[in-house]
């Protein structure tokens, strides 16, 4: 290892005056000694390179003694060899497991992993490439400690929710900054209509070489005022010198719901539940059934009206699940080539993805292409370009709320077994409204008349040039444009039952077009030099960025033609606008690193940002970090110890920020509207000229160990303090506004991350086995909200000092009342739901009513309350208050993943599990589906209602079912909160490399077949798919899909 390092050091001296020789040799695998064909052999720092032949042999000319030869091949660690003038160099490559010498991409450059003192996680191409997903984000779950990922919607193309090390922001968003090949890129859900459109979908996961997730200040603060939520660096594949190799990859498979969502009562059970509710109602209200003669007659009549029996003689019935949903087919094709010679390298690819959703109208199609090239113009100038273009079309449906156009909602809530599908005699669809309380009709004829679709076009172009002054001083300048164009639509065509909602006659169509253009220019001067044991690296540069946003909407109404889909065919103009906005950022940045003897490392970074989003007086800010590490395993006293292969302690401290999302938030402005047919203006906001970025102070300590050359262990502790949080702070309505953007309060995220990885078997009789696990814990706490210390309510959440960002606040559900007048409360009847009274008492306050402490202690009226407490005295809904539900938050106690990789000869099995526990989910579906009889008419009933309280079944949490339930479960309470714990087999890949001699016969260097599955297994106590947005709020979002695909991967 030391020799290698010395070699690296040596090459940095120029050696062009020395003699040029020819080198030959063989490249083999350390696993089984087999030759490695198509391995790349390059003279480092030049374009001089070749690829090995089928036998792993190569011949390279014009190599000067003292040059460094770089041997690389996919799946193997890159090895560097100092050329000492001998004509033959054989090399044995080690398979690519964890390595401390490998280069990792970090902010504004690359470093060797072993020398890095920041906190960053690297996800490599191998673990992304086969997963049957649209966006790489979906694969990150469980892969990196500290990174929470939720693919919360099963619609193809929906955005993914990612948060790094907790939640550092109130209103400025918790999305990390995405940087693609060094350029900050537009990210997030950029939809306007009903669809969720992940803007990272544009990138074909197959084109990604690696992803680095920057977590602490040392890693991220070079991105300054946008780095608080962490940074995701994406590096795309680049050309490799050597013979041109071509890769073709194809996969196809199937998708369906990954989980049994909202189990429902069977038809017979549903009728029984209806009957129960009406019977209880009749018994409680004797006047109700008098005109019917008896309770039975009344109940029969009511059930017949509200859950009418099937009439097979008249109607055709169908299973609505079959009508609305299907097994979706997923297909993916990729063709790429890479190669190059002495003066140029290129990587190019095209990809085609076609993924159907489970809803019969949901699908996504994507075409993507990448061309990355570089050329060495002279020995002091290298230029290059990277480019991605992609086109994507998504067709979907309304998602995430109780809407007629949300098939998941209507399937679960209203469409039941007794709803006729069609008339038997004519075969015509039954189109009458079924439920009197919800005007849904058979959705089949109107599915294609609901328009929710989106085109996404993205071009990302970057050009760069690198000037080499000397071997240790280089200047790199980059200019890039990221252009995202989305056209999304929302509407109801002529014939859709909802069209009256927007037009009295014939349909509605809203066309939305928008462009986000982001232009970034940066230049950095890089210095890197070694003197003996001393190594110094420094960087200084500047960056300018401009984001332009253009948007236009046209709403038209009244189609007069049944098949019209384009708004140009609609008769009348309804509404529309155009909008432009711009923001810019100007920055200076620099870093300085020093290390000594491969043992002591010190790094400092600095960035100064000026943003147009803030007032001129407050717009400039400085961000910095310092970090250091001690690689104690390289100390003489530990060197060569058998057990410690590598060991390092590192620590960092630094600052970063988050800018407001609004471009003009600091200005006071008037908006314009109309009154009658004339214009009207009004003050639109409560301006805050002191607006600033959120300030993040971040420290991190970590230990990295590699033991017995087989086990990697990383333990980290971090503390992120965010102050001056940007908040659309609720202001008293008497200001005339409901909120204003302010820097208010502070919040902390601190926690532990542990990752372990064992290479249990390495080429042991052909077996390889490695297992890894990671666990993260984030403690999130709002430290202060304002000087006055008030809290902010955003039902069902509250922000209050001492509680987490996603703390729930609602009525506390205490279960079912066991007896009339329970605990002396005359308002309670047996079988009714009970709620905590909920008032708050300060310690010593005299109780003005019966107060019950959390442990059950009863304090009588007139006595002092012994501690600060909420009142848990059970009462009915009307007399209960909302209270903060201690310990109930959407933030998990822990999350992470497990990875298992088993290989035997050419066969590999990869498993990636992800888990999350200790958090609560707000299930808004309770309102409709567990209403204890209130919302029953014509509806489905959730399975848990079978356990409703009856005089015989008293040990239950489900109250007595009664029609017209004034106390029922549809009122917000902690009954909506459910433990969200889950364990999910996120990805599984089983692949087989066909024997080399077999594939070589087919002129292929490699041939592989594989099966890849997403969301294959899920373990959870929830009755809905547990992968839910990190805010824990669920409201009929299309649940996740299980996808299984079969693939073929051929390299020529």
């Amino acid at each position: 290892m030391k020799r290698l390092f010395a070699a690296v050091v040596l090459v940095l001296t120029c050696s062009t005056l020395l003699a040029q020789n020819k080198v030959t040799g063989r490249v083999t695998s350390s696993e089984d000694g087999s030759p490695i064909p198509f391995a790349s052999v390059v003279v480092k720092g030049t374009m001089n390179g070749v690829a090995t032949d089928d036998n792993g042999a190569y011949t390279l000319t014009n190599v000067a003694p003292g040059a460094v030869l770089e041997f690389s091949s996919v799946g193997f660690l890159t090895q560097e060899v100092l050329y000492d003038g001998k004509p033959v160099v054989h090399v044995i490559l080690r398979p690519d497991t964890e390595s401390l010498e490998e280069a990792m991409v970090v902010a504004y450059g690359t470093v060797k992993k072993g020398s890095y003192s920041g906190s960053a996680a690297v996800v490599k191409q191998e673990s992304i490439k086969d997963a049957p997903v649209v966006s790489f984000e979906q694969v990150l779950a469980g892969k990196a400690p500290g990174v929470q990922v939720a693919s919360y919607s099963g619609q193809p193309g929906a955005d993914t929710d990612i948060s790094i090390r907790g939640f550092g922001s109130f209103n400025a968003g918790n999305q990390p900054l995405y940087v693609i090949d060094g350029v900050p890129a537009t990210s997030g859900d950029r939809a306007w209509g009903n669809l969720s459109i992940g803007s990272m979908n544009f990138l074909n996961p197959g084109d990604i070489e690696s992803i680095t997730i920057l977590k602490d200040a040392a890693a991220a603060s070079l991105y300054g005022s946008r780095a608080s939520n962490g940074v995701i660096l994406i590096t795309t594949k680049k050309g490799r010198a050597g013979k041109i190799t071509t890769n073709f990859k194809a996969s196809a498979g199937f998708s369906y719901f990954a989980y049994d969502n909202y189990p429902l009562c069977t038809d017979e059970e549903t009728e029984r539940m209806h009957r129960m509710a009406w019977t209880n109602y009749a018994n409680d209200n004797p006047s109700s059934w008098q005109s019917y003669g008896s309770v039975d007659a009344y109940v029969n009549a009511k059930v017949a009206a509200n859950y009418p029996a099937r009439d097979e003689s008249k109607y055709i019935y169908k299973d609505w699940e079959d009508v609305l949903f299907r097994t979706g087919i997923a297909q993916n094709y990729e063709l790429s080539l890479t190669g190059g010679g002495e003066r140029g390298k290129v990587y190019a690819s095209v990809g085609w993805t076609d993924q159907q959703g489970v809803v019969v109208i949901d699908y996504l199609k994507r075409f993507s292409t990448t061309i990355n090239a570089e050329a060495k113009v002279t020995n002091w100038l290298t230029v290059g370009a990277t480019s991605q273009y992609s086109w994507q079309y998504q067709n979907g449906q309304q998602d995430g709320w109780a809407s007629k156009d949300n098939p998941f909602f209507i399937w679960k809530v209203v469409l039941n077994d007794r709803w006729p599908y069609a008339y038997k005699d004519t075969g015509d669809l039954y189109l009458d409204t079924w439920s009197p309380s919800f005007s849904t009709v058979n959705p089949v004829p109107t599915y294609d008349k609901q328009i929710n679709d989106a085109w996404q076009n993205r071009v990302l172009l970057k050009g760069w040039a690198e000037l080499k002054f000397t071997d240790y001083l280089k200047l790199k300048t980059t200019i890039s444009e990221d252009w995202l164009y989305i056209h999304d639509r929302f509407g109801w065509l002529y014939g859709h039952p909802n069209f009256y909602a927007y037009s009295d006659t014939g349909g509605y169509m809203a066309d939305h077009h928008f462009n986000i253009r982001r232009l970034v220019s940066s230049s950095t001067l890089n210095f890197d030099k070694t003197w003996g044991d001393h190594h110094v690296a420094a960087m200084a540069g500047w960056e300018a960025e401009e984001e332009n946003y253009e948007e236009s909407v046209v709403n038209k109404i009244d189609f007069s033609y049944m098949g019209a889909t384009q708004s140009v065919l609609a008769t009348n103009f309804d509404d529309g606008y155009t909008y432009t906005s711009r923001n810019s950022l100007l920055s200076a940045l620099g870093s300085l690193s020093y290390d000594f003897g491969a043992r002591y490392y010190l790094t400092a970074t600095f960035r100064r940002d000026g943003s147009s989003k803030l007032a001129p007086e407050t717009r400039w800010g400085n961000f910095w970090s310092v970090s250091g590490s001690w690689r104690f395993s390289n100390e003489p006293f530990l060197k060569g110890s058998g057990w410690l292969t590598d060991g390092k302690i590192r620590a960092s401290y630094g600052t970063s920020g988050t800018l407001p999302s609004s471009n003009y938030g600091y200005m006071s402005v008037y908006n314009y509207t109309n009154y009658g047919n004339t214009g009207a203006s009004y003050p639109a906001n409560l301006a805050n000229s002191d607006l600033s970025w959120e300030k993040n102070k971040n420290w991190n300590v970590g230990v990295d160990l590699r033991l017995f050359d087989m086990a990697n262990v990383t333990v980290e502790y971090f503390n992120k303090l965010t102050t001056d949080l940007l908040l659309d702070a609720t202001v008293p309505s008497t200001t005339g506004f409901s909120s204003t953007l302010m820097n208010i309060g502070s919040m902390v995220n601190r926690g532990w991350e542990i990752a372990v990885n064992f290479d249990i078997l390495r080429n042991n009789n052909g077996w390889n086995l490695s297992v890894g696990a990671n666990w993260s814990h984030v403690h999130n706490e709002v430290l202060a909200l304002s000087e006055e210390g008030e809290s902010i309510v955003d039902t069902p959440y509250v922000w209050q000092e001492g509680y987490s960002f996603y703390q729930f606040r609602t009525r506390k559900y205490l279960g079912v009342c066991p007896e009339d007048n329970y605990m002396g409360n005359s308002r309670l009847k047996a079988g009714n739901p009970m709620y905590a009274e909920g008032s708050y008492y300060e310690q010593g306050e005299i109780a003005d009513q019966t107060v019950v402490l959390k442990d059950g202690t009863v304090i009588q009226e007139g006595s002092p309350v012994p501690e600060n407490t909420w009142n848990f005295y059970p009462t009915n809904r009307n007399n209960s208050s909302n209270m903060i539900l201690e310990g109930m938050t959407a933030i998990p106690k822990g999350f992470g993943g497990f990875n298992v990789n088993v290989g035997w000869k050419g066969l590999t099995l990869d498993m990636a599990w992800s888990y999350k526990y200790g958090h609560y989910i707000w299930d808004e579906g309770v309102e409709q589906m567990e209403s204890d009889g209130y919302y029953d008419f014509h509806r489905n009933i959730a399975k848990d209602q079978l356990n409703a309280w009856t005089p015989e079944n008293t040990n239950t949490d489900v109250p007595r079912r009664i029609r017209d339930n004034g106390q029922g479960g549809y009122y917000y309470s902690s009954r909506f909160l459910k433990r969200g714990d889950f364990l999910r087999l996120k990805n599984l890949t089983l692949s087989y490399n066909l024997p080399r001699n077999f594939s070589n016969k087919l002129s292929m260097s490699n041939a592989r077949i594989y099966v890849a599955a997403a969301n294959l297994l899920t373990f959870s106590g929830l009755n809905i798919d547990p992968e839910i947005k990190s805010n824990g709020y669920y409201y009929y979002t299309m649940p996740a899909m299980r996808t299984v695909t079969f693939g073929l991967d051929l390299t020529f």
């Binding site: 409204t433 009197p436 309380s437 005007s439 000037l467 200047l475 039952p497 009256y500 909602a501 009295d504 230049s523 001067l525 540069g541 300018a544 401009e546 309804d574 509404d575 909008y579 432009t580 711009r582 100007l586 147009s612 001129p616 471009n663 003009y664 200005m667 006071s668 402005v669 008037y670 908006n671 314009y672 509207t673 109309n674 009154y675 009658g676 047919n677 009207a680 203006s681 009004y682 003050p683 609720t730 202001v731 008293p732 309505s733 008497t734 200001t735 005339g736 008030e790 809290s791 309510v793 039902t795 509250v798 008032s839 009307n878 007399n879 208050s881 909302n882 209130y934 017209d964 004034g966």
Partner: protein, 495 residues
């Protein structure tokens, strides 16, 4: 030497690249294109006219006069009941509102203070708009007067929504928070004044407004007469009958407004700017169709052509029975029976078909100009005030004028308090008066459970409501009180 040149060239290129864009002046200065920075928004008198229009836009919205103010007067009383046994309509009808249901009841508070802020901003900035000619000065005064009058309307509504009726306790209960200038979040946290103090502010604003406003009809805007009629209404609510009578008779005798004929009564509701209207608000052809002048929710079931749709408000049997013996009364004819025999989607309900849409602008029933005040109200205020001051003759005269307009065959009657209130109930259905009329006259509201409508409301059902009851006033939203604890909650409500 050659190397030296080499370096110089490199350094020159580097310097150019490094300096590059940094020299761009104003790179970080951006201004919005979709809105106007405040200092440029109210400069000329024309700007002031546009900003003056902006005082009215929230008022016409469904959250205020478009739908919810009528709800507060009619649905909350015994004029109208909701078709659905759940949802907002049922909550209002059965007085089950709670401080935690911020979605509708909290918005009155927010929306009125939004308008008050607009008025205060306007009053603070109007001075800067130059006016030199006498015409310009009159226009400027008129705009200013409108801001005062709109503010008065807001405070009046806040007092009657959130405070007990003035006559119950002489305005001792809590009313609005009085703010007459723009405030930041800190200064805005004042406690509530009493209803009496709020009414004082209303009268003071109206006095200022009257001195500035033009007397010319001004469609969609306050003029002198609208301010004066509002003043009459305020006096009536306060039980200051002599002043109410003076104000109302001044409007009747001197203003250009005239009652529409009985024959034209039905069509009047589709006309814009008829001289019956003393103040009507203007809906727009552009804008959110569901939100603007949303009287459709009180109209019959044309929406979706579906009995289960959002259209949900039905005149009570009690209201319909008011016309049992007067089949010729045009107001009793404003219902439409939706006969289930005539079609599968007919509901068997009686729908109110008063608000037929602004036909002058070609709109359907879904866009109506909300009527804030009509000249008919001046007659009925005059009748009530005259009766209260002992002038039964005048009272009868004003009352009979309204009766005969609606029904040419009606016999003259001698005014009594009961007859005047019945007349108001008949006349103003859907305009948001009934609840406040019952409260201020010390009556009691009873929900008529005998209406042919299977309506149930759960165990917390309350059958009668009278002044002083907790549910006679709206709760302050508990969400608002979390960040603004100085804002006193009304008695009887929990947070």
């Amino acid at each position: 030497m050659n190397d030296m040149k080499h370096y110089i060239r490199h350094i020159a290129i580097a310097a150019v690249l490094l300096l590059g864009l940094t020299a761009c002046e104003g790179f970080l200065d951006t201004v919005p294109t979709s809105s106007v920075v405040d200092k440029n928004a109210m400069v000329t008198l024309a700007d002031a006219g546009v900003a003056c229009n902006g005082l009215y836009t929230p008022l016409k919205y469904y959250t205020l006069y478009g739908t919810y103010i009528p709800y507060m007067g009619d649905l909350r009383a015994d004029n109208i009941y909701p078709r659905m046994s759940d949802g907002t309509g049922a909550v209002i009808y059965t007085w089950q509102y709670e401080s935690t249901q911020s979605s509708y009841f909290g918005t009155f508070w927010e929306n009125y203070y939004n308008v008050i802020m607009r008025c205060n901003t306007f009053i603070e900035n109007i001075d800067a708009c130059d006016a030199s000619s006498s015409g310009e000065i009159a226009l400027k005064n008129d705009y200013t007067g409108q801001a005062y009058a709109v503010r008065a309307l807001c405070y009046f509504d806040l007092a009657r929504l959130y405070g007990q009726t003035y006559t119950f306790d002489n305005g001792a209960s809590l009313g609005a928070v009085i703010l007459t200038e723009t405030v930041g979040p800190k200064e805005a946290r004042l406690p509530r004044s009493t209803v009496a103090q709020t009414y004082e502010q209303v009268l003071s604003d109206l006095a200022t407004a009257k001195g500035l406003l033009s007397s010319e009809p001004n469609l969609g805007h306050f003029n002198y007469w609208a301010a004066r009629l509002l003043e009459a209404r305020v006096y009536l609510y306060m039980g200051r009958f002599a002043e109410a009578l003076t104000a109302a008779t001044e409007v009747i005798n001197n203003s250009p407004y005239r009652m529409v004929s009985g024959d034209g009564y039905a069509a009047y509701w589709g006309h814009e700017g008829d001289m019956e209207s003393v103040l009507e608000l203007l809906v727009s052809v552009l804008g959110d169709i569901d939100s603007d002048g949303g009287f459709y929710t009180m109209y019959h079931n044309l929406w979706f052509d579906d009995p289960n749709s959002g259209a949900s408000l039905i005149p009570t049997l009690k209201w319909r029975n008011l016309f049992k013996d007067t089949p010729n009364d045009v107001r009793g004819q404003m219902i439409q029976y939706d006969d289930p025999e005539t079609g599968a989607k007919k509901s068997g309900e009686y729908w109110l078909r008063k608000f037929i849409g602004n036909k002058d602008q070609g709109y359907t029933f879904r866009r109506n100009n909300p009527r804030v005040m009509r000249i008919t109200e001046a007659y009925l205020i005059a009748a009530e005030a005259a009766l209260a001051t002992g002038d039964t003759g005048s009272a009868s005269r004003y009352l009979n004028a309204v009766r005969k307009r609606a029904d040419a065959t009606a016999e003259d009657v001698t005014a009594t308090m009961e007859l005047i209130q019945i007349e108001r109930q008949k006349e103003f259905i859907g305009e948001g008066h009934r609840f406040f009329d019952v409260m201020r006259t010390g009556g009691e509201i009873t929900c008529d459970m005998n209406d042919p409508h299977e309506f149930r409301s759960g165990s917390a059902y309350v059958h009668t409501l009278k002044p002083g009851d907790a549910k006679a006033v709206l709760p302050i939203s508990s969400d608002e009180r979390v960040s603004y604890p100085e804002l006193q909650q009304n008695p009887g409500y929990k947070d």
